[in-house]
């Protein structure tokens, strides 16, 4: 039975939860900045944003995680594996957040931006005060997808020795000789995060829907 293993996965669960929360915040910040760059009138910023997204989202996450944890320390910075995992997840997911936001920005009518500029708002103000608040409303569902995917992607941390749900499960499978039971428990532990997240996204969508 899966339930008997839940206690032993509790610590891993908390690790997965903090991985999720920290990298989600990082991804939202990175993604918002990237999206603003990709729709900005400055060609250099657009090019940097586009290059970032293409490079990062087309690299497998496990490769990125190992590159961060083992590659970047060679260049100087030294963090624990947990921090590297958070950084890799935030950098990776930021690319997807950017694209979700950009689709939302493109869905806001051009007239909204024109009206904002016509009253003298600059590019930054136009984005912050007029375009992004409306874009966020249309991107709640796709952004929810990205965050749920992020929660599950945190399992990659296990490959760089972070003791999350997945790493603890792997150890437990060996010691218990009950792979199905342990994997079942592991699935339940992830669902405890992803299901409420999905429901919260649905709630939020209903609440912020803009009347047009």
């Amino acid at each position: 039975m899966p339930f008997q293993y839940l206690d032993e996965l509790a610590e891993g669960f908390l690790t997965t939860l903090s991985l999720t929360l920290l990298s989600a915040v990082g991804a939202l910040v990175i993604g918002t900045v990237l999206a603003a760059m990709r729709v900005s009138p400055v060609p250099v910023l657009r090019a940097v944003g586009t290059t970032y997204v293409q490079l990062v989202r087309n690299t497998p996450l496990p490769v990125l995680a190992v590159l961060f944890a083992l590659g970047l320390p060679v260049l100087g910075p030294s963090f624990g594996f947990f921090t590297w995992a958070v950084l890799a997840l935030a950098v990776y997911t930021g690319a997807f957040v950017c694209e979700a936001l950009r689709s939302g920005i493109n869905a806001v009518g051009v007239g909204q931006g024109e009206a904002a500029r016509a009253i003298g708002l600059g590019f930054g103000q136009t984005m912050r005060l007029v375009v992004l608040p409306q874009a966020f409303r249309t991107v709640v569902p796709p952004l929810g997808n990205v965050l749920i995917a992020l929660t599950k992607n945190t399992a990659v941390a296990a490959t760089i020795s972070v003791a999350d749900i997945t790493l603890r499960s792997n150890a437990l499978i060996t010691s218990s000789a009950d792979p199905l039971g342990v994997i079942g428990a592991s699935a339940l532990a992830y669902l405890v995060i992803t299901l409420p997240l999905g429901l919260a996204v649905d709630r939020l969508e209903g609440r912020v829907a803009v009347v047009r």
């Binding site: 009138p41 009518g109 007239g111 909204q112 024109e114 009206a115 904002a116 500029r117 016509a118 009253i119 003298g120 708002l121 600059g122 590019f123 103000q125 005060l129 007029v130 608040p133 409306q134 409303r137 803009v210 009347v211 047009r212």
Partner: protein, 249 residues
Amino acid sequence: MTQTRAPLVVLEGVVKRFGSHQVLTDVDLVVGAGEVVVVLGPSGSGKSTLIRTINRLETIDGGRIVVDGQPLPDEGRELARLRADIGMVFQSFNLFAHKSVLDNITLGPVKVRGASKAEARDRAMALLERVGLADKAGASPAQLSGGQQQRVAIARALAMQPKVMLFDEPTSALDPEFISEVLEVMKGLADDGMTMVVVTHEMGFARSAADRIVFLDQGRVLDDTVPGPFFDGTSSPRAREFLSKILAH
């Protein structure tokens, strides 16, 4: 006449292309302070493009544009400052969909002019009173009729205390029964001495409110004259043809 008024908007030899299509060809236009200029022309003649070049929502490919003595700067802080002095009313209203009527009007004064919230609010309420919508301050744009939305859009532009107002077919998206309430507001503005450039198909408005009519065809200014002669048949042959079609029924 127009020559005695200080020029507020000056276009000299303005050229605009969309790809290989030339939309505006050597357009010269001078709008004096306090003047109401109505731009007429068949669809596709470049009217909207012309009016949108004045606050640089469209960039130009040749010639120059001077507003209040200042050549239009490139995109950036300076342009934003100049745009704040140029009110613009769009065909499709473009009220900020996520903000209440009141917040639509106070956004510019607070964020661009640095007005206090209370000050901006008082002024917005006065403007809403003026356009007859004081009771709609808390409504969202989607709850208003087209005519009401357009009157709010005019109030939003006026809240910036602009030196000139641009109207890009302000009544073309409206149901016929809502057109007059918008034209009333515009006439009131004209009577108060606001400098206005108006692209419209409302011939009645052009005849009664305009100081000057500019007739555009295929991106060229064919007529630039006072309304009387324009409507009395001394305009260019192309303009006469245009008028005969519009006024046939």
